[in-house]
Point group: C2
């Protein structure tokens, strides 16, 4: 069913593991970070620049591309890889997360200021979700079958089952009902996938179940019992960091660990170390590239400014006269070429180059982090590595 | 006086010539195009990308840098080259053009939306020009001595005398008076330059005189009679293309052609061919990079859309399904990676990558144009070359 894909665990340290995720577009060394190219472009950088800083895999959002320019348009132009000039592995998500988040406003940032204003979730029933497009205000229905069809048209290597995303603060009974609907939708996703499987894509199942240990375990077992290529942990991860780690652990209890395991939407440095220690193989998050566009540069602990943040804010006047690079030991183009003072100036002067330069650094940072984590697993010294980065 | 600079004419075809402009930061093959990095950054691209498309020289604007972050700040950070990570030759202008244009609004585009609104020229007297900064609204006086001091602090290789820019529609007597004031200011610029000359910079004189043949000739002779390293043709070039070519010719009549000759602010393809034919060595203009940020991609005649423009507008729906690159025979990163359809989509989706990608193409286009012009001069077939590009 997934003959062109393969996952081999090559090294283990407690529950953390290094693996190789094989695709016809190349291998991904795990643990790995997946960068967000929401609208078929990792904002402000070229595919060449992504490769220059060792990017293995990126993700595009089905919801955005479905709204505009449309999956059939991209298919007509040769698929997502050709369209955007990226020949390495790619993910698309199911579109569900964005649609269900709309009701709660959490992706408002991404879409604010666009056309006809804030999008809106209208209703959810057994068929799927009815919503108004952020792009043109049209009412749309997204179903499991349609999500898979769109993802097939887009042609990413890794695609994701359509599920219902429930918010954090709902009671157990509603979480359970929603999880069961997600399972039915995931089954339908799998059926739709198998019907036209041409071996060019591999399907992820998603673990739901909120913050409830028994539900998370049941959902993880559902995913493991069905012929998905891999598993992703989705839905709410709780209200605190501690709860998040607990929820990941709950899901891990039911997951088939011979398959790759993805943690959706998490990209903090500490969180990545925690996730890796619990057995997570891949992560994605807009955080590294989004903060870059607001002047936030990721730095290892020695380069921080004393705040609890994992990045420094180059807009701060502290950096006005600072002629050192973002990180002295980073060899990315930005750190080789520009001082913090120059980046500070570019941000203040509203120069586009700032966004590109800081994005390049943050991507390099995340890829270097994951590389050191892999070596930390192989050499069984993750703790030492973690002190340097956290 | 200019011992680290040198200009050698190596090939001539009628009045057009190929030369080598030597600096301690490398050679410039002329005719050459100078790209605008107005605020110490060529908008949307890195210095590395500039080099990848064979850029020889760029320009920054004294007026903008003087307003923010200040020349002394840049000096403290090692000068303009180090500040912005560009190690090849650079120009700065005198600041005069922006200040005098303010009264007429022609640089409003560049500065619109910035801070305290539209800047304002308050008065001009024998000392210099009093104006309100676009950045902070403070009243400033710019004199020849101050312009040279600022340009020394910035540290570009080629710097420019401070002159008065008069608008097109003024009578001959006022044009003559203004020209004479410019000459006095240029003398003061030269004195200020010589006083601290450390051989790291070379000074351009500027030819004024409006649209009047006798004034242009007198002004050109003034520049040629004084120990400037090179000459630039400034001020109004008239109201029509034909008048512009005439004005260039008037100036050329009085210029010392053993020195390099720059034409200020001109960047159209036809205009460059005309200028080269009249003996111009270098050109600068924001046009190629500015239109890029509005979706305008420069193309050779065979790739145009039938309009009289030298570029195509990728925002037009014509390009929605066009899976060819901007130019089939261009080998820039953009043309190797992206289709017109993708660039059209990126523009419509407000993706930053569009600006960078089209800017890269337009810079490559201009550099390829200048390279072919140089070979056209050497091989005496400028006319054939011109048909391909115009």
């Amino acid at each position: 069913m997934y003959r062109n894909f393969r996952f081999d665990v090559i090294s283990v340290a407690d529950r953390a593991r290094c693996g190789i995720l094989k695709t016809s577009r190349g291998e991904i060394r795990t643990p790995a970070f997946v960068f967000c190219g929401t609208k078929a472009s990792v904002k402000a950088v070229t595919p060449q620049q992504l490769k220059e800083v060792n990017t293995q895999i990126i993700l595009s959002n089905t919801y955005h591309l479905f709204s505009y320019p449309g999956a059939e348009h991209i298919k007509m132009l040769g698929g997502l890889h050709k369209f955007m000039g990226w020949d390495k592995p790619m993910f698309t998500d199911s579109g569900g997360f964005q649609i269900f988040s709309l009701g709660y406003g959490s992706v408002a940032n991404e879409i604010k200021g666009k056309r006809s204003g804030i999008p809106k979730l209208i209703k959810v029933d057994e068929r799927g979700a009815v919503f108004k497009s952020y792009w043109d205000g049209n009412t749309q229905l997204l179903t499991p079958e349609k999500s898979i069809k769109i993802q097939r048209d887009l042609g990413a290597d890794f695609i994701v089952s359509f599920d219902e995303c429930t918010p954090y603060r709902i009671e157990k009974k509603r979480t359970e009902e929603s999880m069961e609907r997600s399972h039915r939708w995931e089954k339908r996703s799998l059926d739709a996938f198998e019907q036209f499987n041409d071996y060019s894509q591999a399907l992820y199942g998603i673990v739901q179940g909120g913050i409830y240990a028994d539900l998370r375990k049941r959902s993880a077992e559902f995913v493991s019992d069905n012929p998905f290529f891999a598993s992703a942990i989705g839905g709410t991860l709780g209200a605190t960091k501690e709860q998040m780690y607990e929820v990941i652990e709950m899901a891990m209890n039911g997951l088939n660990i011979s398959r790759p395991i993805h943690l959706l939407g998490i990209g903090g440095i500490v969180d990545i170390f925690k996730g890796v220690a619990l057995g997570i193989d891949t992560f994605d998050c807009v955080h590294p590239t989004r903060i870059a566009r607001h002047g936030g540069a990721l730095v290892k602990s020695q380069y921080r400014d004393g705040s609890s943040r994992e990045h420094i804010n180059l807009k701060k006047s502290t950096y006005k006269n600072d002629d050192s690079p973002i990180e002295l030991d980073c060899n990315c183009l930005t750190c080789r070429s520009f001082s913090r003072a120059y980046l500070h100036y570019l941000l203040k002067a509203n120069e586009l180059l700032a966004l590109q330069a800081i994005t390049i650094h943050n991507i390099k940072f995340m890829n270097a982090l994951m590389e050191e984590i892999r070596s930390g697993i192989t050499q069984n010294n993750l703790k030492t590595i973690s002190e340097k980065w956290c």
